[in-house]
Symmetry: C2
Subunit: 254 residues, 2 copies
């Protein structure tokens, strides 16, 4: 809606790919160098981009700290955290909390496994939306038409042989997840890693977040992991209760 701002903001994802010099930015933006310069300067003043010693631009520290604050404002996260920690103490494996927003599902909290073999993931990182158990729960809760349109827009990378291959399969999986009220990812993202997940609901019953327990095959088999399901669900329900109690209807994700 605002051309100038639109252009300026387009610089950010561009720099997220890696540092770039003025000319490069101008070219990819399709504007004159002088224009790019002025935009970059403005971004720089706000700390969103940083100028390295070789004069090239990259994303700045302010962006990182803003994102940090953004996460700390999420009410679910705050409420859920102690529950995640407790669950982690009980089961030992990695515990994740994720939310859905627009077209992304991302981890907003994590408690690391106590086992030496750990799964790679990072708070703030978008999750593999077509296979992750938490993503299935979050998308399964969307109204039918949205679910369909989202499913059709997605890419379906075959991370492993068990990855969801296409929109059809994904929609079926979502239907199942929606009905049973929990989800799994059995080697769909990484061959040797399994997850079980449960939804966290707001006062209106809608899913506002999802949590999961993940563990590699070498630590526990998928069957063993599934025995934790009741515990995971109980934890999620406890968070739901506390969350809906504390917040009227409004707030957070969707």
């Amino acid at each position: 809606m605002s051309q100038t701002v639109d252009r300026a903001l387009s610089i950010l994802p561009l720099l997220a790919e890696g540092p770039a010099d003025l000319g490069g930015v101008a070219e990819r933006l399709g504007v004159h160098k002088s224009t790019a310069l002025r935009l970059l300067r403005t971004l720089h003043e706000h700390g969103l981009v940083y100028r390295q010693s070789d004069q090239r631009y990259r994303l700045g520290a302010r962006l990182i700290s803003l994102a940090q604050e953004a996460m700390e404002n999420l009410d679910v996260r705050e409420i859920a955290h102690p529950h995640l920690v407790r669950l982690n103490e009980q089961v030992g494996h990695t515990v994740h909390l994720a939310v859905h927003e627009e077209d992304e599902v991302l981890y907003i909290d994590k408690v690391e496994s106590r086992y030496p073999v750990r799964m790679y993931s990072r708070i703030g990182k978008p999750v593999a939306i077509t296979v992750a158990a938490v993503a299935k729960l979050l998308l399964a809760d969307l109204p039918e038409n949205e679910r369909r349109s989202v499913a059709e827009q997605l890419d379906y990378p075959m991370y492993t042989a068990r990855s969801t291959p296409n929109a059809d399969g994904f929609l079926k999986e979502l239907a199942k997840v929606r009905e049973q009220g929990w989800a799994t990812d059995l080697g769909g993202h990484e061959e040797s890693i399994n997850c079980v997940a449960a939804p966290i609901r707001g006062a209106d019953g809608r899913v506002v977040a999802a949590m999961s327990v993940s563990a590699p095959n070498v630590v526990v088999t998928a069957e063993e992991l599934l025995t934790l399901l009741p515990l995971v669900r109980r934890t999620a329900d406890a968070i739901s209760g506390e969350y809906s109690g504390r917040t009227p209807v409004k707030e957070v994700t969707a």
Copy 2:
């Protein structure tokens, strides 16, 4: 330099304080509601702000994932990470990696303590710049005049009785740190937590990052923690070597 962009970007820190409605944003920006609306819309299109179900705006998920990518591009982080993990395996305590940029020092990586009592911190969070051991190392490396001007601009909150009280004390501390080549924080931020830190240098000898080991009093005394200093320094030096070997002169922070 660009008014529109400047205004748009000013919305971000404002929303970082918490969700706000259109009127609120317009007022704090000092512009007409319609203007604020258009700016917010543009930010929204880029996913930097999100509109909650109660119509209020808050920071969006895209911001978080951008920040994530920003960190993953930092070369030091990538090189340092395995070393941090190894150090954590050896000593068990929390290990941090931090960089300095403009007026902030922030953690860009962290390996959690294996002990149950953990220190609170979070990747991307700006550190307490006047007391943290890593901050001292990063600032101590600045040229004298910059060091002075930074020191004088800072606030000196008394987190504990041992916090650095003022610019003078801070500059003295920086001088000491600069000379000895390592730093500590003994209860300056939280009464019961101590840290030892060492600098990571680029090929030109300048400090590009700093790493620390932190542990609460209840786990090890300050004296015991200090015995880890040689190990921490060796680790930092190893990272320095690898980092300066791999990168000409340029790149990263300053």
